[in-house]
Amino acid sequence: MKPLLKVRWATVCVVLAMASSWVGCTRKSNDPPGTLHLALIEKIKGMDPAQADDLYAGNMVHLVYESLYQYHYLKRPYQIVPNLAAALPEISADGKTYTIKIKQGVLFQDDASFKASSCKGRELVADDIVYSLKRLADPKTVSSGWWVLEGKIVGLDDWRAASTKAGTTDYSAPVAGLKAVDRYTVQIQLVQRNYQFIYGLAMPFTGIVPREAVEAYGKEFLNHAVGTGPFKLTEYNPAAKLVFAKNPTYRDETYPSEGEAGDQEKGLLADAGKKLPFADKLVYTIYVESQPQWLTFMKGGLDATSIPKDNYAQAVTPTQGLTDEMKKLGVELHRSPSLDVTHETFNMADPVIGKNKLLRQALSTAYDPVPLLELFYNNRAIAAQGPIPPGLAGYDPAFKSPYRQFSVEKAKELLAKAGYPGGKGLAPIDYATVSSSTSRQMNEYFQKQMAAIGVQVKFNTYSWPEFQAAIKNRKGQMWGFAWGADYPDAENFLQLFYSKNTSPGPNDSNYSNPEFDRLYEKSLTLADSPERTALYVKMAQMVVEDCPWIMGVHRLNYGLTQKWLKNYKYHDIQHGIAKYLRVDPALKK
């Protein structure tokens, strides 16, 4: 699950960077040459893979922990490649049995919890995979990532239920569909064919953890990191700064030697075949406000940054090139579409707004996307017509939602049909929001648009965790939200409308439509095919007609990197790409 603040996401993405002085004006640094200096925009909730349910924690977790699979760094469309696994799984003819061989000789990082081997990290074996997946299912772990496995593996749901009932978890109790066949082989039995299952095995939630460390640290495991990954956590201050060092026992993993067309020319293959990671040290600083982050980048203290909306004109010209100021610095602009969608959610569980489709359609029609794009995204986004972003099968570029073509007259007409002519009789809409300056400006804009058809809006402001809690408890009639893809399949967006995923699950609008559910369940059993794409298109249109969301925008990601940062390529899905990045100290002088 990857819910994001719509505003923050723009600033988000992976943000990379490097420090020390570039014209001798900044602070002195003791960091070795080639240290990466990167930025994060939210506090980190912890280093436990089972809790890594937002982008920021996910990024940190995947530096230290690894999952069985990962995405190819350079190839597009996104492609699953082995990580801890030795190869892609062997899947039986009925699509239900996955046999996964894991790499041999992979070591956990040295840690005090490995008492048997006097603090030396031991080898990763198939039992660790079984343990880590069971741990995600363990009710005591209280993982927000259980949905990744829920209902999918034979016997795992029963094992979870038995643990809940017994009050203690017995990891030695067998799960029929999840077992280690030998030291390096895991076999997973699925309840039914599922084409999205493998994506779950690439998410931070399924990062492989050693049982010794989990048991030794107990609750404190959240603040420790003992994985097999390329970096070791050396300094942990989740509200301000995280420092990582190269993991000396990291296995031989090399930079990809193939990419998509054009990567060669961009120099993205210059390091092909070289051992990862490149950086000896990695410093992540947390910038909650965008201005300090921007200024640090401008002084050369960060290797990469996103562009805050208010600095956009300083960096990018109207013709989408870099400004002279930026060219002089030698920075590089990276532009790529994000697999995401922002939306204003209607709470379908609300008796007023949830029961009145015409009312929702009226509000949707009254919300003009054009100024929204200009004022808040510097036109770095396109108006969304449906829930599926461009770049995924199921997105139809020709489709125009009838309720996203701004028209005050039509909105008033719909509002009158809904039973509230001129907004009369409608109580002010209870809108939940987070407290940030940009959110407030967006809310003012929404309020203004609704006032034009006579609808009043009342705001309830929360902090980010409170806001999430309010939504999970179905409080409020509307709120703004965004969803970024967990994996490159439109199913990840359509599951947001599946009735079994309603709050506290990811279906925050609490939309429920038996016909939609039927199509959704059918689509799960289909491989990527025109038939499945047609189903996706149909489901998306059902959602548009029922209007549980006012579709917002699909964003374009704009990032800047310093001239000395090599191998940067925007990746929508893969977390923890820092292992591929390299700083050229010669260019920093």
């Binding site: 965008s290 201005q291 208010d310 004022l375 407290s435 407030r440 400006q441 203004k448 402001t461």
Partner: protein
């Protein structure tokens, strides 16, 4: 902040307590109030500042009844038009939605003044009543009240404000109450101290021997003699509330959907990066003059009214 903290060692000074009857019998003497007015008027700066406050008040009232700068939320230009002389509305430029910053400053004045007034009207009765009860009765009542306000004041003010706005939800009502119920402590201390001092004075003893009830002694006899502290406190209270409203709104806890100086400064936090300085300038200049004026008037009032400083 508060002037003349209670319990100062200066016992009884020459000024006699004001009793309306007494004043009548001495045609040549001036009452404390008349004397204060005379002294206040000699302070030209203070008079000028009082005029500034009056000006703000008039602006606020006119804006309240939508006689000027109305409506504030009409779009008069593009986003972030710089200040220009083409009309009064454009004189401070426009904001992100193309609305007049000048109008927002005017309506921000309305919000600020109303917050100052209402918060003071809530705080003063609480402070005076509790202070009077504690000072007059002493004993366990005093201890309870002192314990209560000491505890309350040990909580950092901003925390308390945030907590109250979270409980009450957002909006003007919450701000009024939050500021009102957190800002009476200073006044309460002063009034308590004065009551302790006054309750054993001759005129109170005399009143009591004539059979005046507690209520009559508190409200009819002592209170008029300490009421100048309320006036002095009012000006400080007012200014404190204006500042607090700006801070709360800046933090996103204040006024929703209405122009406020704090919200404008919060906007400016983002906009300064793109060179938009006029919202910050408009809000801070407006705030600067009214806060300064209240400060100077507050000082002058203390000089004029406090018999200890003559």
């Amino acid at each position: 902040m508060t002037s003349g903290e209670a319990g100062g060692g200066m016992a009884v000074l020459a000024t006699s307590p004001v009793e309306s009857g007494v004043a009548k019998n001495e045609p040549k003497g001036r009452s404390l109030w008349a004397d204060a007015v005379r002294r206040f008027r000699k302070d030209r700066m203070a008079v000028a500042c009082l005029a500034v406050i009056a000006f703000y008040a008039v602006i606020a009232i006119l804006a309240r009844f939508e006689l000027i700068a109305s409506p504030w939320d009409t779009v008069i230009g593009g986003a972030y038009d710089p200040p220009s002389l083409q009309s009064l509305a454009h004189s401070f430029g426009t904001d992100i939605f193309g609305r007049s910053v000048f109008y927002k400053v005017i309506h921000g004045t309305r919000i600020a003044m109303s917050v100052g007034l209402v918060a003071s009207l809530i705080a003063i009765p609480i402070g005076v009543t509790l202070g009077a009860l504690a000072g007059y009765f002493g004993g366990w009542i005093d201890e309870a009240i002192v314990w209560f306000y000491t505890t309350l004041s040990s909580i950092p003010n901003i925390m308390l404000l945030i907590a109250i706005t979270f409980v009450m939800g957002k909006g003007m009502g919450a701000i009024y109450v939050a500021l009102g119920v957190t800002s009476w402590i200073g006044l309460c201390r002063v009034i308590r101290g004065e009551f302790i001092k006054h309750k054993s004075r001759d005129y109170v003893v005399a009143a009591s021997s004539l059979g005046a009830s507690h209520g009559s002694r508190i409200f009819k006899h002592i209170l008029p003699n300490v009421s100048h502290f309320v006036i002095i406190n009012l000006s400080m209270q007012f200014m404190g509330a204006i500042k607090a409203e700006v801070i709360l709104s800046f933090l996103g806890l204040g006024v929703q959907g209405q122009p406020s100086w704090g919200v404008m400064i919060d906007d400016a936090k983002l906009e300064l990066a793109r060179g938009v300085w006029w919202q910050l300038a408009g809000a801070t200049v407006a705030m600067f003059f009214v806060v300064l004026a209240f400060n100077i008037v507050g000082d002058a009032l203390r000089d004029a009214l406090d018999p200890k400083i003559k």
